[in-house]
Symmetry: C2
Subunit: 378 residues, 2 copies
């Protein structure tokens, strides 16, 4: 690299925006590609290009002058990433990592192959194959590709409901009784050195299948914290390429920890790290891109994060209860600058860092009670 390093980011949503917010304090140049001309990164990228992330030609052209190519979303052209890597660019995640992760079937097989505990599963070509696997019912049927934030996932109670299942290549996963959902973000440097954030506990909104809020560290026994960390490290080690790995896990009611899925990028489960940790997930990602040393993932205090998800339909967003939450010590509001809200859309988040867990809980309860995003009334 000569001069300021150029990072080409595929995707310009809130993850990209938070990445840029941190990257602004270093002397780097960030280019962003996104199909939405009003994407949250569009006004702050050094260069913003509107275009498809799936189209190999578009992606290769966009990143032609970059030193590093990164992603903000998994649904990008792997073919383009392979070409860019062949051109000598540093591509993070590695195209092979992304190829596996894009396909929930390959991903499950990857865990099984590496002896990483995951829920029982089978790959199916379509729903006709379901009948032969009623030992895995009740379970979840997941489309192998294209799913996101709960889309492409359906519960199957028993063989009687098979007709309702969508068709095409999918994974049937046996339902496990979940005590808690955990996540660990691991940073892997180009040297192979790794660091991990303390495991967090994610509480889902069942209706939207999005994270409602999270607590860091997770409130589980030390043995479970250690197992979750060790498993996440094994996942990153199995992938064996530099980058950030957000490993989502189930803690079963039997006390087992199972890997659910991995995102090879900054992740909703790490938003609290912006304020709670010495080096945030976005800072670590930049360090990976530029082969800088891994930052410290340490947190001095417990923290929590609440997702601000649009409610009440579509329109120009209005934040309700902002003053109430901004008055709470250690509370940080993040709005993603999206011009339209709609029910279920991630519009922002609120994090809280507090001296103790009771204060984190009190703040989270207040945030949930007071704060929401809805369409502005005309």
């Amino acid at each position: 690299m000569s001069g300021r390093p150029v990072i080409a980011l595929l995707g310009g949503g809130q993850l990209g925006r938070m990445f840029i917010e941190n990257a602004l304090r270093y002397d780097v140049e960030i280019h962003v590609l996104d199909p939405d001309p009003n994407a949250p990164c569009s006004t702050i990228a050094d260069r913003f290009v509107q275009g498809s992330l799936d189209d190999a030609r578009t992606v290769v052209d966009f990143a032609a002058h970059a030193d590093v190519v990164g992603i903000e979303i998994e649904h990008v052209s792997v073919e383009a990433l392979i070409t860019l890597k062949e051109q000598g660019k540093r591509v993070i995640p590695d195209p092979e990592v992304l190829r596996i992760i894009q396909d929930k079937g390959l991903q499950k097989e990857f865990y099984a192959h590496h002896g990483i505990p995951t829920s029982p599963f089978v790959l199916l070509n379509g729903k006709a194959d379901l009948a032969a696997h009623d030992d895995l019912l009740p379970g979840f049927l997941k489309a192998r590709t294209g799913g996101y934030d709960g889309k492409g996932v359906m519960p199957i109670a028993d063989a009687a409901h098979v007709d309702e299942a969508f068709n095409g290549p999918c994974v049937l996963e046996k339902h496990v009784r979940i005590a808690k959902e955990l996540a660990v973000i691991v940073v892997r440097a180009h040297t192979g050195g790794m660091a991990s954030y303390a495991p967090v506990e994610m509480v889902f909104d069942d209706r939207l299948n999005l994270v409602d809020h999270l607590r860091a560290p997770a409130r589980v026994d030390n043995g479970t914290l250690e197992r979750a960390t060790e498993l996440a490290m094994r996942v990153a080690d199995a992938f064996g390429a530099p980058g950030i790995y957000a490993v989502e896990m189930f803690l079963t009611d039997q006390g087992e920890v199972l890997v659910n899925e991995t995102a090879p990028r900054a992740h909703n489960s790490g938003h609290h790290t912006i304020e709670a940790c010495a080096s945030s997930q976005f800072d670590q990602l930049l360090r990976c891109y530029l082969t800088w040393p891994i930052g410290s993932p340490d947190a001095a205090r417990p923290s929590g994060m609440f997702n601000l998800v649009g409610t009440g339909g579509e329109g120009i967003p209005e934040v309700i209860g902002m003053d109430a939450i901004l008055g709470i010590p250690g509370v940080h509001l993040h709005l993603y600058g999206k011009q339209r809200t709609r029910t279920g859309r991630k519009m922002g988040h609120v994090s809280v860092v507090a001296p103790d867990e009771a204060s984190v809980d009190a703040a989270l309860a207040l945030i949930k009670a007071q704060c929401r995003i809805r369409p502005r009334l005309a």
Copy 2:
């Protein structure tokens, strides 16, 4: 205000850049005026205008569509701010506050009038008047207007050196024996509510007359911490308008605390607040602008900040020792994105947040030993 609030910022240097870095996580629109087309804010402001900050017409036109007008540097047209205030915009600092602060003579008289301890002084029309005030020698002669970062300030040892003094309206201040230099940043809300950060200790580079590094909190006895905080609160209360007041003070070798000068804006002495405090000085400023509640100034851990000042002449900047410092836990590098370095120019800073003061000191020593910015060798 309807829609996103528009903040017009006069000055687009590093303070503006760090202000925007924080403001990006809220849904606000930021316009910046600066004479330098390559100013650090030029690429990230929602709207950037190149133009003079001194020219009233330019400033009034620039801020025509803003809801709030703020400053990043004191040398701006007060006349324009008065006009903008009359137009109903929220102007922070208040033009009257800025008028007093721009003139070191008025500023000293303001402290004297409000019974705020400050070093003995007299206002002079020119150096011919010096002879009548040799009771204030040795002292410092300061130009009443136009000084910055040590420019416009000269020490006067005795009457024999009067001929070397620059001429024009100035303040002669008696030299006081300084044990430490302290600073306290006070936030004053539109409601009159106030909060302050813990006093910091600034260690100057005598050669450049810039802050070399700071430690937060200052390492002085509790009585001194309380006096410094109380004095800074009195200064903000005397000004009586919303905004941020960075109050610089001398702790004399007799244990007295004297107010030296005040900046009505974000300030170098508050850079550590970005990582060390729940709400940073830049966040507080935004809250003042938008009449949001004051944030928490609390810090969970001690911290330090080292200014990265250009050395070795002029050119395209190159950071030396970056890897060494990025490897230290809790260290945060900030580069301001300036395209040219020159000796004495503030190019960035490094902050450190650590579990204890000894770790802060160790990190500061390592940063100072390892890290510098110099022109890139051709």
